[in-house]
Symmetry: C2
DNA sequence: TTGACACTCTAACAGTCGTTAGGTATTATT
DNA sequence: AATAATACCTAACGACTGTTAGAGTGTCAA
């Protein structure tokens, strides 16, 4: 990891825990192991660190959304038990590559903190936590409806329910205090229980 | 409003928007219109302001919970259309006296921000945003089940759904950027649409 | 061997931070 | 009238803030 990457990594950890303003340049440099002037060789000022993190995050989710656009009509399609495909693809993109991903999880926390006084953060937060996920769920469940898993007339209601559950569980387990392995397990367990239990 | 109350009011507005550490004593005093030394006449230090806000909030929700404990088996019970009672009591306690209440709404935002590096805040946040609401919904829907609105066997599933919807909508509309009248209306509209639409 | 470049350092700047000592009015109590 | 309490003030403290000028390093191409 280069010094620049290390600075961004340390800064994200600190920003997402205490907020941008509350973290000082000296806090970051102390943890990275460099002098303050060295940081200004890599970034033009403090805000430039935050901007770089946002740019990196935007690139990351852009990549995810492109992959979802290109996703197959039904992933592998080996097992044919009900809803299996939907769980797989949502697990893969929403959980493993987004909510559980260390970088993305910390960025979501940072957006949660900064959204109240930063309009750019607020817009990005709304898009990545509400608008985009809803669109993804809609796409997945529409696909499943064409496969005959359930009537197309029910898609809207099912997507609303699924989105509500996923959002609640995300805030309950993945954005509440430290993200432990236990919380990830509890989150996955609840999601799968809902799928099996026919609550969706 | 006394000077002490004004300090707490201004501090809460600033803390809930930018976070505790990012707000300075001079920021607060400038807005209140006093000198810094005057603030130290009313509070022993900066943390004392935060502690006072937390104490006030705890008292507030304690009062709400006691009122719910003492609530009648069925409020007024004049109209008998399905689910009418549940909506009324939840509107009254959860929305008007909690989520929409200016003081509580700002305290929730503050807890959202501070929970990641303050264990007391995290515990209070979990209790007031997840544990307590779930218990309240459970109590209300159990009561409705005994009235025959729906089978008792369905109570658990219904409460899970209701809690998920309410939590999602709260984060989507009431804890996302500025709390406008439009957002309150959109929130209420979605909640009532879910009740009428039989999605619950 | 020289020069250019990438990277890190020392040392300091002006401004802001939380906090405090000590003074001054106004009001209530004796 | 004297005393005490309440609520505010001026002025400053040492520590910390983001940021910068300028001086080394080491590596590589000419």
């Amino acid at each position: 990891m280069t010094t620049k990457e290390k600075i961004m990594d340390v800064a994200l950890h600190m920003f997402s825990e205490r907020g941008y303003e509350a973290v000082s340049i000296r806090d970051i440099c102390g943890e990275v192991g460099i002098k303050e002037s060295t940081l200004y060789y890599h970034f033009k000022n403090k805000m430039d660190i935050l901007d770089s993190l946002i740019a990196k995050f935007k690139e990351h989710i852009e990549g995810l959304l492109i992959h979802i656009d290109e996703m197959p009509q039904m992933p592998s399609g080996k097992t044919k038990k009900k809803n299996a495909g939907s769980t797989d693809i949502i697990d893969s993109y929403m959980m493993d590559s987004y909510l559980f991903d260390p970088f993305c999880n910390l960025m979501i926390r940072l957006m949660m903190i900064e959204q109240f006084h930063n309009e750019e953060m607020r817009a990005l937060y709304e898009k990545t936590m509400f608008t985009d996920p809803y669109d993804i769920y809609l796409r997945v469940f529409r696909m499943l409806a064409t496969k005959g898993t359930f009537p197309e007339s029910q898609v809207d209601a099912i997507v609303r329910r699924y989105h509500a559950y996923m959002t609640m569980l995300t805030y309950r387990y993945l954005l509440n205090g430290e993200l432990t392995e236990e919380k990830k397990k509890a989150y996955k367990k609840e999601v799968h229980a809902l799928m099996k239990g026919g609550v969706i």
